[in-house]
């Protein structure tokens, strides 16, 4: 077993804050940087990671069949065509609603860590069984939250559970940041959130319509070296994970450069 495989849980508590989008983009980014990366969709009831990566038609087996020994691990892994360093493994099939114990998850992650440098686990929302399974197999965690009261509250609950499960380090990604609203103090500031949750900030991700466009296509923003605001944020997060020192963006300075203003002008509706 490769000892230095990084097994990272991507979780949030609340649904819809951007766990799966972050997992997909980090997976692509890390693979682009040469790291062999597996993304494991631990949310087998409502799996979506395949859809964001554009791999929904290529899933034949899941981790469940691997554990039952009806197939080999490499048969269940779905390699990304454009980024062969990246592979997806769905934990299970939405139709099979029983199975999965923490020990199953540990087994599958152990198998993955023999092959990959990174295992990113896309955690289901909530703090029930799906979450517990995913935590059991993880070593470190990224908590994703939005600058909104409900998302921060749920993140806090999850951080408490990660601490009791000795997950370390636990880092924070603040997603869907709207610099304008922060400037007018109509949105919790970056400091508000980091003070309350008391976690080191791994990165900020700016609110960006291109995220929706990219999910429509099943091509994560980082796939084509996107220069869109969120795309840049995602690839910076991946670089920081790899140990590169990339300064955090300052939301108060976003959207003020000439280039940003020009881009905005180009998006203005003319008729």
């Amino acid at each position: 077993m490769a000892k230095d495989t990084r097994i990272i849980l991507i979780c949030s508590g609340k649904g819809g804050v951007g766990k799966t989008t972050l997992t997909a983009n980090l997976g692509i980014s890390l693979a682009q940087q040469g790291a062999k990366t597996a993304v494991l969709d631990a949310d087998f009831g409502l799996r979506n990671l395949d859809l964001l990566l554009g791999l929904e038609n290529r899933i034949v087996y899941t981790a469940q069949e691997v554990l039952e020994e009806t197939c080999r691990l490499d048969q269940a892994l779905v390699r990304h065509k454009q980024e062969p360093n990246l592979a997806l493994l769905p934990a299970g099939n939405p139709r099979m609603l029983e199975w999965l114990k923490p020990s199953d998850m540990e087994k599958i992650v152990e198998m993955l860590s023999e092959i990959f440098d990174y295992v990113l686990i896309d955690c289901p929302a909530g703090v029930e069984d799906g979450f517990k399974n995913a935590v059991a197999a993880s070593k470190e965690a990224i908590v994703v939250t939005n600058p909104e009261v409900s998302a921060v509250r749920d993140a806090d609950r999850v951080i408490g559970l990660l601490n009791t499960n000795s997950i370390n380090p636990v880092q924070l990604v603040l997603n869907r940041v709207r610099p304008k609203m922060m400037a007018s103090q109509e949105m919790l500031s970056v400091e508000d959130v980091t003070d309350i949750l008391a976690l080191p900030l791994l990165g900020l991700v700016l609110e960006d319509e291109q995220v929706i466009v990219s999910t429509n296509r099943g091509e994560p923003l980082t796939l084509n070296g996107s220069k869109s605001p969120a795309g840049k944020c995602y690839s910076n997060i991946a670089k920081r994970l790899q140990g590169e020192e990339i300064p955090l963006i300052d939301p108060s300075k976003e959207g003020t450069s000439f280039g940003d203003k020009f881009k905005k002008l180009m998006q203005t509706k003319i008729f």
């Binding site: 909104e148 009261v149 921060v152 509250r153 806090d156 609950r157 951080i159 408490g160 922060m182 007018s184 103090q185 109509e186 949105m187 919790l188 500031s189 508000d192 309350i196 008391a198």
Partner: protein, 112 residues
């Protein structure tokens, strides 16, 4: 108060919502982190007051027990104002022995 808050006040508009969000969050998290409901907290406050009241005279109506959170550490903070005599001495209940009463010369307001 920021300049923005001042302008809002002058225009009688609502203050920026981020402050409200922060304050509401801090309060709700202090309770989430301890799993204490306000009922339990109330009961605990009452009992703490009763215990302290056995020894010193305290102002039962002013006593406050609250949860405060900083850096993921939550503390139970009790603020119990002690009644004083006109000369400033702390009023102790009779069951305390005389020697202890005499020894008690420092009249710092006892809190927490």
């Amino acid at each position: 108060m920021t300049l923005r808050d001042l302008i809002n006040k002058l225009l009688r508009r609502q203050t920026a919502s981020a402050n409200t969000a922060r304050e509401r969050l801090q309060l709700v998290l202090a309770h989430d982190r301890t799993d204490l409901s306000s009922d339990v907290l109330d009961k605990m406050r009452q009992e703490i007051l009763e215990v302290v009241a056995k020894y010193v005279e305290i102002d039962m109506s002013e006593g406050a027990v609250s949860l405060e959170t900083e850096d993921r550490m939550t503390a139970l903070v009790a603020n119990l104002p002690i009644k004083r005599t006109k000369t400033g001495e702390i009023k102790l209940k009779e069951q305390i022995t005389e020697s202890e009463t005499e020894a008690n010369e420092n009249d710092d307001p006892v809190s927490s």
